[in-house]
């Protein structure tokens, strides 16, 4: 028994070397082994399971994996963050998602442009009025 136990102990490090010491949140969620070159592990640390759960709910692990594989490594972190953001927006607003935010911003821009035009017209009128009134010397 002690021999088999020793063999088991010897084999343990070999198995551990095939995978990360701690599974990433994605592999934990998917209930699978987390390999050393897991595409998700740099972006889904095990201490934030909600992040992957949200993304998986909207996009699915396969789609996200494909998307990340098509991107250069240095852009993947930003891509994951933007996917998480959009997924969260979609969970909170299942009808419009983050498109609702775009619509609100466009409405704000339109209102601001109208107000700016109105204010600039008022400036023009006020400047005309100012140039027509006699100036007093206060000194």
């Amino acid at each position: 028994i002690s021999q088999s136990f020793c063999i088991f102990l010897l084999l343990l490090p070999l198995r551990e070397s095939e995978m990360n010491p701690k599974r990433c949140a994605a592999c934990k969620y998917l209930r699978r082994r987390c390999p050393k070159d897991c595409i998700f592990s740099p972006y889904f640390p095990p201490n934030d399971p909600e992040k992957f759960a949200c993304i998986h709910r909207i996009y699915g692990a396969g789609s996200v994996s494909k998307m990340l594989q098509q991107l250069p490594v240095q852009t993947r972190a930003e891509a994951v963050d933007s996917l998480c953001f959009e997924a969260k927006c979609r969970v909170e607003d299942p009808v419009y998602g983050c498109v609702g935010i775009i619509y609100l911003l466009q409405t704000q821009i339109q209102k601001a442009e109208n107000l700016l035009a109105k204010t600039q017209a008022e400036i023009a009128v006020a400047q005309t009025k100012h140039s027509q009134t006699p100036k007093f010397d206060y000194m």
């Binding site: 699915g60 891509a79 419009y96 609100l104 911003l105 466009q106 107000l115």
Partner: protein, 199 residues
């Protein structure tokens, strides 16, 4: 609608399956626009879209599909930032407009003070119309993140207005990353629902 004798919808054509009479995709993905479903399937996956639509009341599904198509198109155009890139761009536009408005507002106040020399400028409350008061209030909320949490949750435009007038949102050219960090902390409640975005 799919069914015997009629053309299968775009989704069933792409998925190479029989288009049932009650196919959930058929009303929104007509056979004459295969690209629409192709792009949604590429980004979200057919089963995810099906699940999302099933969770929605029927009268909201058309809008949901349109917003999904929009997001999918944005993601294909910009694989890194997707819609967040568009939000960042629009946010920068709002910031610039707010700065221009603040400058114009200051200018009009100066002119008004010059036109009315009898006023004690630093004690007199100038008459402002509602729009200008709202603008000054919004600008005074800059760098005050607490306003985001205290804003009226029933008013969508105020939600975003307060968020955008906060320091982090209104600071020089918000990057997609900073927007995502801020928005993740925000409670985006009661999103625009009253009327369809697509009418």
């Amino acid at each position: 609608m799919g069914g015997p004798g009629s053309s299968p919808c775009a989704s069933c054509k792409l998925l190479r399956r029989r288009c049932a009479k009650d196919c959930i995709f058929a009303p929104y993905f007509p056979p004459d626009d295969p690209h629409k479903f192709a792009i949604v399937h590429k980004v979200f996956g057919a089963s995810n879209v099906s699940k999302m639509l099933q969770e929605l009341p029927v009268h909201q599904r058309a809008d949901a599909v349109n917003s999904l198509v929009f997001e999918a198109n944005a993601r294909v155009r910009d694989p890194v930032y997707g819609c967040v890139g568009a939000i960042s761009y629009l946010q920068n536009q709002v910031s610039q407009l707010q700065m221009q408005l603040a400058v114009a507002q200051a200018e009009i106040l100066c002119i008004q003070m010059q036109n009315e020399p009898t006023l004690q400028s630093h004690h007199q409350v100038l008459e402002l119309d509602q729009d200008h008061k709202a603008l000054l209030l919004q600008n005074n909320n800059n760098n005050n993140i607490n306003n985001i949490n205290n804003c009226n949750s029933n008013n969508n435009s105020n939600n975003l207005g307060y968020a955008m007038s906060s320091g982090q949102f209104n600071s020089n050219f918000a990057s997609p990353s900073s927007i995502m960090q801020m928005q993740m902390q925000m409670q985006l409640q009661d999103p625009l629902k009253q009327e369809s975005l697509w009418t």
